[in-house]
């Protein structure tokens, strides 16, 4: 599955930008600077939106396409901001055939946000993920570390209400 790209507007503070500058300065002239820069940038912002990647591209003169290639390749890099509670719906084959698409629809309705978005109060974010290896429980959603399996759309409101 291709990585979802956020539609949430980006904001940063002067403090964050100063940290990012220091980070780029530190690794810029080293060999293979992009992994540590992207990791550091994600620590600063929580995710790697286009604004941050473009800024890194201009400062390091590495094409944005190359940076995005790395960011979309490694699963550790996030292109979406995460809420306090990150809700993930498994769209792996097993979950999908058992109706995880419907769970996604229900979550969109309950949370009022689409796949890849975050609620305005930053409490919940919603993402689709690849198979998480809990196929026996299909269809599955996770909220941070908590796993909920064998769900139907009607179970969703109660789960969300717990947080």
């Amino acid at each position: 599955m291709k990585k979802q790209i956020t539609t949430v507007a980006f904001k940063d503070t002067q403090e964050q930008r100063a940290k990012l500058d220091a980070l780029i300065e530190k690794y810029k002239n080293e060999k293979g600077p992009m992994m540590p820069i992207l990791q550091g940038a994600q620590d600063i912002y929580g995710y790697l939106p286009i604004e941050v990647q473009r800024y890194i591209s201009i400062q390091t003169e590495v094409p944005l396409s190359e940076i995005y290639g790395i960011a979309s390749f490694y699963s550790q890099f996030l292109l979406n901001p995460k809420g306090q509670y990150a809700v993930s719906v498994c769209l792996g084959t097993a979950c999908y055939v058992k109706g995880s698409g419907l769970l996604m629809e229900k979550l969109t309705e309950v949370l009022g946000i689409k796949n890849g978005e975050i609620t305005p109060d930053k409490k919940f974010s919603l993402d689709a993920t690849r198979c998480i290896g809990a196929c026996g429980l299909a269809p599955v959603i996770t909220v941070n570390e908590d796993v909920y399996g064998r769900l139907e759309p009607k179970d969703i409101p109660d789960i969300i209400a717990k947080y």
């Binding site: 291709k2 094409p63 944005l64 396409s65 190359e66």
Partner: protein, 579 residues
């Protein structure tokens, strides 16, 4: 040269010490099949088509990246090698949209060729069947990733040849796709429209936006007067689409074929190449004499213009304001010539045959129209599209007689024809500038220092009291190097020629696609340029300002070079786009 002794298929060879197995084999007259490898820019060992056996090595090795060493024994053609290559092709085919019947690259596709040669079974494995969206967001290029084999040759061309890097490999595993960052449309990036990615692609995943139907429709419309002009370099390359060796001049046959397509006029763009030179040389002299912005940089390559606007907006005032030859032609055709021929510009469809995808973008630019709603050039078709129209009309190109361009625009000078090669515009401009300043004929017309296929060329010429430092760069990666040196003050120049594509128009993104087996072994730029320099040396008129049609147009219409009318019709302006 240091050599090492290797055995290839049982025979002994001394090969250059630091070659790869692929290079060593070629040395021994053996062509190992490759899909992802492109000399100098893409040696990534991804497709695994170039597998060979090496005695003592574990498993098969990829010849394109594996270095030879003393005593190495290589086998390029064993049953094991052949079976592995076949399987790898079959795996590629499993994820490929196999639509050879309608594919734009059918019969000129490296994948199709190898699949056929290896006897591959296209349905042995069933692979992904998700459909990728087609990116046709620009006016010049289409990306159909359903046919992409992930060789990354386009990425290397964009990044390394051109120094742009707006495309790359996104995601991973089965989801890997070649696209722009954040899956943006190409039209939303700072792609310069050069088309170098297209001519690097082995398959039908990248191609120009085909405008041939528009041309055919116009020709079929009896109320339209449809004229076409052919850019200097097209005559040097279009033969390749009909089986001629690279470097064959087919001007006469090309003209004959164009006439048989039913155009109302078939003209030589060399004429407006000459006009561009007269305008540009005088603009340069003017800038030198009046303290204008220097260095002045040529403006006839729209790929370069878009590059400048995106990546070096601070240099847009250095650009000559001259339109490119195709735009000058369209503009004059719909004004001066229309009046002369008694035509209403609204009824004219002006087509240009060009080596370049960027010119498709150029025709859509504001500041290029004759008047509101009347574009200078209506449709720009690449060399490949022209060839497609010719075959599509059942015209046997090879059997064409040699014919001449239509009057009244049949004359181009030798200076005009060399426009198509890197350094050609500079040489043409110097011929005219020198004679204008010195006010006497030059003894030697060749400016050898600006000829040749090097990436950046420099020279200093004395034109009377004036010392002119010139530089010539082709390919935007080289342009970047040159401009950075100018910016930092490291390099002092007065006049710069830049062509967006490496080697100039002869190697444009709209030119016939040659497979890697040719690109890797033959210097296409050199072969194709030679056609143009040979044509120049045979011309009677070799200076732009001596072209009689150019003279006539000034006398009857434009007045002087850089006159008010000339500015209205032949000059344009630029935008600072940024990234």
């Amino acid at each position: 040269m240091n050599t090492v002794n290797v055995k290839i298929n049982g025979r002994e060879y001394a090969v250059p010490a630091n070659s790869t197995i692929l290079e060593a084999a070629r040395y021994a007259g053996i062509e190992i099949p490759t899909l992802c490898y492109l000399k100098d820019i893409n040696a990534i060992g991804a497709c695994r088509l170039c597998l060979v056996e090496v005695k003592g090595a574990r498993g098969l090795v990829t010849a394109c990246v594996y270095p030879v060493n003393e005593g190495m024994e290589i086998f390029t053609n064993t049953p094991k090698v052949k079976a592995a290559r076949k399987t790898n092709i079959e795996l590629v085919l499993s994820a490929h949209e196999k639509k050879c019947l309608s594919c734009i690259r059918s019969t000129n596709c490296e994948l199709q060729k190898y699949a056929n040669e290896f006897g591959a079974d296209e349905s042995r494995f069933s692979g992904r069947n998700t459909k990728e969206a087609i990116d046709d967001s620009t006016v010049f290029l289409v990306r159909d990733n359903n046919k992409c084999i992930l060789c990354r040759r386009c990425v290397a061309a964009c990044n390394k040849l051109q120094g742009i890097g707006v495309i790359g490999a996104n995601n991973r595993g089965f989801d890997t796709n070649i696209a722009c960052a954040f899956e943006k449309n190409l039209s939303d990036t700072s792609c310069i429209s050069c088309g170098q990615c297209i001519v690097a692609c082995p398959v039908g995943a990248l191609y120009e936006k085909d405008d041939t139907q528009k041309v055919l429709d116009a020709i079929a419309d009896p109320t339209k007067h449809v004229a076409i002009c052919a850019a200097p370099s097209v005559r040097a390359t279009i033969g390749e689409c009909f089986g001629y060796e690279p470097g064959t001049d087919v001007e006469g046959k090309m003209v004959a074929a164009m006439k048989r397509l039913g155009f109302d006029g078939v003209y030589d763009m060399n004429f407006t190449a000459d006009l561009t030179i007269v305008e540009e040389a005088n603009e340069f002299i003017g800038r030198v004499q009046n303290g204008g912005k220097l260095p002045m940089i040529t403006s006839c390559s729209p790929g370069w213009i878009k590059y400048c606007e995106h990546y070096f907006p601070e240099f847009t005032d250095n650009l000559s304001t001259c339109k490119s030859p195709q735009q000058m032609f369209g503009a004059l055709y719909k004004t001066y010539f229309a009046k002369k021929m008694g035509l209403d510009p609204k009824d004219i469809v002006f087509v240009s045959a060009i080596p370049c995808t960027a010119k498709k973008f150029e025709v859509t630019r504001p500041g290029q129209s004759v008047e509101d709603g009347i574009p200078g050039v209506d449709i720009a078709i690449t060399t490949r599209e022209l060839a497609r129209m010719i075959s599509g009309a059942g015209i046997d190109f090879t059997k064409m007689p040699d014919e001449e361009f239509d009057k009244p625009i049949e004359i181009g000078s030798g200076a005009g024809v060399i426009f198509g090669a890197t350094g050609g515009v500079m040489e043409a401009a110097l011929r005219t500038a020198a004679e204008t300043i010195l006010n006497k004929p030059l003894e030697k017309l060749e400016f050898d220092d600006v000829r040749g296929t090097e990436s950046i060329k420099r020279a200093t010429y004395k034109l009377g009291d004036l010392e002119v430092k010139v530089a010539v760069a082709s390919g935007t990666a080289n342009a970047k190097k040159l401009l950075k040196a100018v910016q930092s003050g490291e390099e002092k120049v007065d006049f710069i020629e830049i062509m967006g594509c490496p080697g100039g128009c002869v190697n444009g993104g709209g030119q016939p696609v040659q497979p890697a087996s040719v690109r890797n072994n033959v210097n296409l730029v050199e072969l194709r340029s030679k056609v143009l320099y040979d044509a120049d040396s045979k011309e009677e008129i070799r200076k732009s300002h001596e072209n009689p049609i150019v003279k006539m147009v000034y006398e009857e219409f434009l007045g002087e070079p850089n006159s008010h009318v000339a500015h209205e019709i032949l000059h344009t302006h630029y935008v600072k786009r940024g990234l």
